[in-house]
Amino acid sequence: MTSDEVRERLKSRSVGIAGCGGLGSNCAVALARTGIGTLVIADHDTVSESNLNRQYYFLSQVGEPKVSALKDVIHRIDPAIRVISYKARLDPEKINLYFRDCDVLVEAFDRADQKQMLIEAALSLFPGKPLVVGLGMAGWGKNESIRFRKSGNIYICGDEISEISDQLPPLAPRVGIVANMQANTVLEILMQT
């Protein structure tokens, strides 16, 4: 299948991305380049300088809401992509409202408690919907520890161990690897269905 044929297949598909930090911004860009028709993005935060070590934003975007900054980045790549953006702190009610029509949902939060909230809400609200989770990518090196596994409709990307801390920050390479694994998983799911 050619790249154009892939784009044609993906044109009618919609992917939800919960969180537009390191995972969400990089995953969205990879999906945009591949030709996903619709991206639904949600995040409450604004771009700060400390985000630039891993998130797909630019110095000139510091201070902008992440969802508008990401929408601009996506449209600089491909203006034809439909981007539905919500600047909001997600809770189960909003998750239902924003993401119920998406073919696949990507979990792209930073904090463990937020990941838990999103995964539990998605499993309750959308029992069969594929959910692609990013788990464990702090630090550097250790390529061999980054893995993928599937458990029912949950797809897990990451080493599942490395938690961020002052001494183990999230950095562009490993965050980017996991974000792109998430995008690759979304692609695999969408090309099969």
Binding site: A112, D113, I119, V133, M137, S151
Partner: protein, 67 residues
């Protein structure tokens, strides 16, 4: 009983176990988890009562911060 725990076959001497029992046997001390038994979500307040039986497929996801 024989169960599938996180995609791996495991055998326990117990006939059944609660989620809390399973967590303590496996020495899983993580605070932030998502648990499913045969695809059904088990919330934290059910860890003491939800029962794992022979043949069950159990997922225990350990949530770590970073993203």
């Amino acid at each position: 009983m024989k169960i599938i725990l996180n995609n791996t076959a495991e055998e326990f001497q117990h006939e059944t176990l609660t989620i809390n029992g399973l967590l303590s046997l496996k020495k899983f001390s993580f605070k932030m988890l998502v648990v499913r038994i045969n695809g059904s979500l088990v919330k934290k307040d059910e860890y003491e009562t939800a029962v794992v039986r022979d043949g069950d497929d159990v997922m225990i996801l350990h949530l770590v911060s970073g993203g």
